[in-house]
């Protein structure tokens, strides 16, 4: 069998495996056959709330993210580099940790509670519902808009602005007619990603008690299958639609690439410097300082009184690292055939396979987990995988594999045809070639891809909750359970550890490049 045919088969297989959980949910939901009317009544509310929250959060994130991107790239705001660092950092907080930090902060003894008491304002008694979910999710998702849009904004050639001005357009008209069209696709694509993120969100909405579809799936799980599969199918359909839209926007060619970049003259903010700085400080406070202070205060208090033993975190940390690393390595290997095929033999089959891999990410982790749990319980021979760490790793690979796809493709590209040909002429043994040429060249990309998968698994909550074996807890589940039970001190310490790990990985893999740009 010729090598490329084997590759195509393998690649199709991988695509199918990644798409399987979502397909299973849809098929299962379609074959439920139960009375749809009560189900529709039951799911109507959560569906409306899911969409309402996702719309509110994505619009807010788009506005805040785009405005900040413009301020940080095009104006003379003092301390722009510092602000850029601070305002991107909320990215490292998983949103359920953020939600938990606000809840703990407003609880008696929390940072916000103390601060509000101090200035004589009665602290709100609860942090719940749509408003709370909206605030928390917006505060931790706007960086997903800020990062790509500021990258895009910094590629608007100065000569385009200058031309528009000289053709008789004012600064405002130039912004509307030149800058906005330039960044429009980037804003839209990242807004859709935030929409998807909010749709899939479970931890934060669970903690603030806002009843969305993900909460329905989690609550009914395998107990009430019509409900859980109905809700999961709705989520899968919504997510797929969003992702297809996002791919269309992103896939549009950028004909302007290649225009020479002349660093532009920043726009002077003038009198607006003070209010702008205050607004940046407010965003940084909500997204970063208040949560960290809240977590820190509880953790410090717990450790000081001896109620929290930092040693207790070693077990969950080790478990997090173990499943995360396993998932990272497996994911990098699993998508490698797809990456190779789409770079070296770009045929429709390769495109379809990478769509399957992307589908694994589009569908909420909770839905993947539900589907895999159902599969192991019902398919022959798979029963012993139910409630095993192995199944959790598989769920991670399916859900986050797409994050290794891009880096893998980069890796394949870093061994171009002429290099492989000259290697073949100089070293006849195939495995030696792989070891001496291909792997060393691809290593940086493969490690980066694995790192991105690891970062995501560390922050992942719902699939971990659903699939973890009894007695197996990761940092994320430890934090979540502790908050649900009101153990703020323990949860605070674990959260800080999680945030630290996430910050280091994010810095190495994402922010370092974003800040350099």
């Amino acid at each position: 069998m010729p090598a490329h045919l084997a590759l195509r088969l393998l690649c199709t297989l991988v695509g199918a495996v990644f798409a399987a959980p979502a397909v299973l949910v849809l098929v299962r939901a379609a074959s439920l056959g139960t009375d749809l009317a009560p189900l529709a009544r039951q799911l109507g509310g959560p569906l409306w709330r899911s969409i309402q929250l996702a719309v509110l959060v994505s619009v807010t994130a788009a506005g805040v993210g785009t405005l900040l991107a413009w301020l940080l790239t095009r104006t003379d705001l003092p301390g722009r580099r510092l602000w850029r660092g601070l305002l991107l950092l909320p990215l490292v907080l998983p949103s359920f940790v953020g939600a938990a930090a606000f809840i703990a902060g407003l609880a008696p003894g929390g940072v916000l509670h103390l601060a509000l008491d101090g200035v004589g304002i009665a602290p709100p008694r609860r942090f719940r519902g749509l408003g709370a979910a909206w605030l928390v999710l917006s505060a931790f998702t706007y960086p997903y808009v800020l990062l790509p849009v500021s990258a895009r904004l910094s590629t608007v050639p100065q000569s385009l602005h200058d031309s528009a001005r000289l053709l008789g357009h004012s600064a405002w008209s130039t912004f509307v007619r030149v800058t906005v069209p330039h960044i429009r696709a980037s804003v839209a694509a990242s807004t859709l990603l935030v929409f998807l993120y909010t749709l899939s969100e479970f931890g934060a909405v669970q903690l603030v008690g806002y009843d969305t579809l993900t909460r329905v799936v989690y609550a009914s799980r395998l107990v009430d299958r019509p409900t859980s599969f109905g809700a999961a199918a709705l989520l899968a359909v919504l997510a797929t639609g969003v992702v297809l839209g996002e791919r269309r926007l992103r896939g549009r060619p950028r004909p302007d690439d290649g225009i020479a970049l002349v660093p532009g003259r920043p726009i002077s903010l003038g009198w607006a410097v003070a209010p702008t700085t205050a607004a940046c400080a407010l965003v940084a406070a909500i997204g970063l300082l208040v949560p960290l202070a809240s977590l820190g205060l509880w953790a410090q208090r717990g450790i000081a009184t001896g109620r929290v033993d930092p040693g207790q975190l070693i077990g969950p940390a080790r478990a997090t690292a173990a499943v995360g690393m396993a998932a990272a390595v497996l994911a990098v290997i699993a998508v490698l055939p797809v990456a190779t095929a789409s770079v070296r033999h770009p045929r429709p089959s390769a495109g379809l396979a990478s769509l399957g891999v992307a589908g694994g990410f589009a569908v909420p982790g909770l839905v993947i987990a539900l589907s895999l749990a159902y599969l192991t319980l019902n398919a022959p021979l798979l029963g012993r995988f139910y409630q095993s760490a192995g199944l959790l790793v598989v769920a991670y690979v399916v859900h986050f594999g797409v994050q290794a796809l891009g880096p893998d493709e980069q890796g394949v590209r870093s061994v171009p045809e002429p290099v492989r040909e000259s290697a073949a002429l100089l070293e006849p043994t195939r495995w030696r070639r792989v070891a001496r040429i291909d792997l060393p060249l691809m290593a940086p990309n493969l490690v980066a891809g694995g790192g991105l998968v690891l970062l995501s698994t560390v922050k992942e909550l719902p699939a971990t909750l659903l699939l973890s074996p009894i007695g197996f807890s990761t940092l994320a589940t430890t934090i979540f359970n502790a908050y649900e039970d009101g153990f703020y001190a323990e949860a605070g310490a674990a959260s800080l550890l999680l945030v630290a790990v996430s910050a280091v990985l994010s810095w190495l893999l994402v922010l370092r490049r974003g800040l350099a740009g």
């Binding site: 528009a164 000289l166 008789g168 004909p255 225009i259």
Partner: protein, 372 residues
């Protein structure tokens, strides 16, 4: 016909540009343009020529109103647009500009790009005007195309059409051909030169390419370190540069050491090449007639060196060090007996081979010399 075509009937129309004692800069205390004065007559094209970092682009951007000035003033027609207490926004200056990268709006068609500056035109006239300027740059029918489907040369012509469409008073070109490859550059350059001549619009063009400046500019301002070193016609720059640096910047040159040797009213310099006639008093650098015996540097262009067989009656002997055959001429590098080197360009007659001995001498009218 209205618009651009009408102007062809009245050459020299449009506004003049006067730059007076202009200084500007980006960092405190550092001026990139220093005390520049320059007057461009209505309809005239002046090329700003200089190495990168000499301030030529900054000067252009100041005329456009894209950069503020520190001292001095810029006047377009009779309006002070930049100066003490005066500031006209770029969008109100009636100045058109073509950038190095074309700067076409990538999301708009060619027609929409051109119409971008026609906001104040009556709607009905816009389409006609777009067609008119497209025809002017020889791109009729390209209106519906998107910029990324155009070649580099077409992009620059669209950029020119776009800035001409609102009938600006002054046209600014910022290294307009430097993004094009060599062959295309020559072609687009001639084309743009033809159009600018045809509509006789006042133009400032910035370039670091001597050939571009000579082809496009009625006059050329050579800039260095933020100052205008010499403002002259191409011929004046080439034959009577004010100093050795300008001589070298605008063309290949041999700078020979010599001594003034006055015989009657004609001045000549004794050099390794033999006697070379020297012009009287072309520049302030030689304000007074050079006294006999004065040590000077003499400018000899390569085509002013004639190369003949070694048996020729007079001249200096030299050895051919290298031969380059260019088709339209032959370039020799010659080694003189005193060890100095010289470059000569000769008509493409049968070449003297490398290593052969030849007789060389000065050929041509009087040249310039500077005190050493």
């Amino acid at each position: 016909m209205k618009g651009v075509r009408r102007r062809t009937d009245e050459p020299g129309s449009g506004a003049g540009v006067t730059i007076e004692s202009l200084s500007m800069g980006y960092l405190p205390g550092i001026d990139v343009v220093r005390d520049v004065s320059l007057a461009v007559a209505p309809g005239e094209t002046v090329a700003l020529l200089g190495p990168s970092g000499c301030g030529k682009t900054s000067l252009l951007r100041a005329v456009a109103g894209l950069e503020p000035v520190r001292q001095g003033s810029i006047t377009v027609d009779t309006t002070v647009v930049s100066g003490p207490g005066a500031w006209v926004k770029p969008e109100h200056r009636r100045v058109g500009m073509v950038f190095q990268d074309g700067a076409l709006f990538p999301h708009l068609t060619v027609a929409a790009n051109i119409a971008f500056g026609l906001r104040s035109h009556p709607r009905k006239e816009v389409a006609a005007r777009v067609e008119e300027v497209l025809a002017l740059v020889d791109l009729a029918g390209y209106g519906p195309r998107l910029p990324h489907t155009l070649s580099g040369g077409q992009k620059q012509r669209v950029a020119l059409a776009r800035s001409l469409a609102p009938s600006p008073a002054v046209m600014l070109l910022d290294e307009p051909f430097s993004a094009l490859d060599a062959a295309l550059r020559v072609q687009v350059r001639s084309e743009v030169g033809r159009i600018l001549n045809e509509i006789a619009i006042t133009t400032l063009v910035v370039t670091h390419d001597q050939a571009e400046a000579f082809v496009l500019g009625d006059r050329v301002a050579v800039m260095r370190d933020g100052r205008v070193v010499q403002l002259d016609t191409a011929d004046g720059l080439y034959r009577r540069p004010v100093n050795p640096w300008v001589a070298g910047f605008v063309g290949e040159s041999n700078l020979l050491a010599g001594r003034i040797d006055r015989a009657g009213c004609a001045t000549a310099a004794a050099t390794a090449l033999g006697p070379v006639p020297i012009e009287g008093v072309p520049h302030r650098s030689v304000a007074a007639p050079l006294p006999a015996g004065e040590a000077v540097t003499v400018l000899v262009r390569p085509e002013q060196v004639s190369v003949g067989p070694v048996g020729a009656a007079d001249g200096t002997t030299a050895v051919v060090d290298a031969v380059e055959y260019h088709g339209h001429d032959i370039r020799y590098r010659l080694q003189l007996d005193d060890g100095s080197a010289l470059v000569a360009r000769c008509p493409p007659e049968p070449a003297h081979p490398r290593g052969s001995r030849v007789k060389i001498r000065y050929r041509g009218p009087a040249t310039v010399a500077w005190r050493r």
